[in-house]
Amino acid sequence: MIKNLQELWQYRALLWNLTQRELKARYRGSALGFLWTFVNPLLLMAVYALVFGVIQKSNIPHYTYFVFVGLLPWIWFSTSVGTGASTISDRRDLLTKVRFPAQVLPATVVATNLINFLLSLPLMVALGAMVGIWPNVHTLAFPLVLFAQLVFTLAVTFIVSALNVRFRDLQHIVQNVLTLWFFVTPVLYIPNAVPEFARRLYLIVNPMAVIINSYQGIFYEQRWPHWRALALVTLGSLVLMAIAARVFEERREEFAELV
């Protein structure tokens, strides 16, 4: 893992430039340009406000804000894994022509979506302020949660992107798994809605549940995250990252031949 991340660090200039380019390219040529980074979540927010504020009223207070707090980090995770799956298999042009650490490619996807996530945070805070929830001292825990999610997202994206080079249908499977994963993660509902016996199990097998719940704790309920669960998830993510780096190293030799 150390070697893998070291190479990533060596090529940080490439990572940074590709990320920048990705961000710019996404909205290049469109009328609003970079503003889309803000317009997109804003429109999403409007849709949720309409559906859950007007059509189907939820009994969770400030429901739109609640959904938003969980949805933004989820989008970071699911978009990274979803588009990350084909990030290596799609770059035949690069892999067979130049030598560079392939992990830059999935890392670029994760970094791009991380920046989009961070850029949409002010909107979330503004929405919170509108319903009277201002960020307070609990926000201090935010970097820790962010770190846990970064490691977890990176690890999953690494594994999926590496395996997809050989197993091309993985990217389609991943899309469907992500849909299921979304609904077993408490984004649209509060964990209390889950039966007591399942709740524990679910927090153990679904690290995203713990992570999303921690965000909701910080920004919505205004409490500290469940430290033990968060620590466990962080540790688990680091272990997963080590495994991911290993899987990646083992497969790397075949990338240039198989893409």
């Binding site: 430039n17 380019r21 390219a25 560079f100 031949e257």
Partner: protein, 451 residues
């Protein structure tokens, strides 16, 4: 002097499924697991791109690779670059390497030339600082002018290649790996590229390059190797390697041309056919007479590959099955493309039943290319076609500097204008790339024109 690149008994095998692009899928793996099948890995399903290749590139030398398509040249470069890893054997590289296997790796069509310089440069191994300090130089070299701030997708292919080459050559590596990109752009740019390469060479950098341009190879390389079917057929002095390669290629071409002659020949006694066939047939006639054997000779015996200055002899045997008679042999020399070069007729008299007629050209005088010899044996003043052989015999002419149909006796000389002092060597401003080769070549004239 130490070696910059060392390959020791390197082999590289690809599984055929990789080549045919049959992807393994989760589904296929599950199905196989359910059927409890083993992974099909018969030795026949693999392709040996390289076998036991050993080669060393000394530091500061330019090393050229030649070979037909699919001979393993590109695989070798990718192994040296580290894109592939060898199936067996070792690859050692000493020094910072920069590989130009494809121009414009990572170019994004929607971004301007300037923006693409940055990412492409980083991919090629430059730091941001290095790129920033060289960006103006790169733009100037590319000669794109104002286009540099336009999106790359609006570029012509020539502009694209120029920009890419400009970035690639401004990376400052110790070892440069190049796959056939010297022939980029128009003549002016090609010369600039060549000059840049020469600059690399003078700076004492090691270069490993693949090219199909044998002239480039002979002029620019210190050492060369010829790859064939994944193995090294010859290596060492570029001139010798290129000659060995040329001879083999020409012989293979001639063999291909002569292939039809190996079909069973009709004998007069068996079944005489008459009249020209529907398609451009190989051989027809009444076969009351037969031509053969046909032997091409050079200065030192039978040969199929000639130089323009070579002595050329053609022996044609003939036999009339119906007794001695007067006949005529018409010879047509044409190019592979069908252009007639020369037609000549020999009267075979006095009447003989069999014999051999010989044509001799003291100097062949043809330019580089493949040629065919058509023969037609007629009797009764050309009324009866007895044996016509079209496209059955051929030979090749290999001339480095003389292309076109003919290679007349000629001499080049440098003539000073009256009154001016004799030239003090080549003008450095005009030909900075090749001081050792003046603009006017006198090499061909060195040969005895009387031959």
């Amino acid at each position: 002097m130490s070696d910059a690149i060392v390959l020791r008994q390197v082999s590289k095998t690809f599984r055929k499924s990789t080549i045919k692009r049959e992807y393994t899928t989760v589904k296929s793996e599950v199905v196989r697991w359910l059927r409890r099948q083993k992974r099909p890995e018969a030795p026949s399903s693999s392709i040996h791109a390289l076998r036991d290749v050993s080669l060393a590139v000394p530091e500061g030398k330019t090393y050229g690779l030649v070979g037909r398509n699919g001979s393993g040249k590109s695989t070798l470069l990718k192994l040296v670059t580290g894109i592939y890893s060898p199936t067996s054997g070792t690859v050692e590289v000493h020094g910072r390497i920069s590989a130009l296997l494809e121009l414009g790796a990572g170019f994004h069509p929607d971004f301007s030339g300037r923006e693409n310089i940055l990412v492409n440069g980083i991919i090629l191994g430059m730091s941001r600082k290095e790129i920033r300090s060289r960006v103006e130089e790169i733009i100037e070299f590319s000669e794109l002018g104002d286009f540099i701030d336009e999106p790359v997708r609006t570029y012509s292919s020539g502009m694209y290649a120029r920009l890419a080459f400009a970035v690639a050559t401004h990376v400052d590596p110790e070892i440069l790996i190049i796959d056939e990109i010297l022939s980029v752009g128009d003549e002016h740019f090609a010369r600039k590229s060549a000059a840049k390469m020469e600059e690399f060479r003078r700076a004492g950098k090691t270069t490993l390059l693949v090219t199909h341009d044998l002239g480039t190879l002979q002029r620019r390389c210190d050492l060369a190797a010829w790859l064939d079917g994944g193995e090294i057929r010859a290596s060492g002095d570029p001139v010798e390697v290129v000659n060995a390669y040329r001879t083999a290629v020409a012989e293979a071409e001639v063999a291909a041309v002569e292939q039809p002659a190996q079909a069973p020949r009709p004998r007069a006694a068996v079944q005489p056919r008459s009249g020209p066939p529907a398609e451009a047939g190989r051989r027809w006639g009444s076969f009351q007479s037969e031509l053969g054997p046909v032997v091409l000779r050079g200065p030192s015996g039978p040969q199929h590959v000639f130089a323009p200055d070579d002595l050329f002899k053609l022996d044609v045997g003939f036999e009339h099955f119906d007794g001695p008679r007067e006949a005529a042999l018409e010879l047509t020399l044409r190019t592979e493309g069908g252009t007639t070069v020369w037609v000549s007729t020999a009267e075979l008299s006095p009447a003989e039943a069999r014999g051999t007629v010989q044509l001799e050209l003291p100097r062949l005088g043809l330019g580089d290319g493949n040629y065919l010899v058509d023969l037609m044996l007629t009797t009764d003043k050309g009324q009866i076609l007895r044996d016509v052989q079209r496209g059955l015999h051929g030979f090749a002419v290999r001339a480095e500097t003389q292309t076109g149909l003919i290679a007349p006796v000629h001499r080049w000389a440098l003539v000073s204008p009256p009154g001016s002092p004799p030239p003090q060597g080549p003008d450095p401003a005009r030909e900075p790339a090749e001081p050792e080769h003046p603009a006017v070549s006198v090499r061909e004239g060195d040969r005895d024109p009387a031959l």
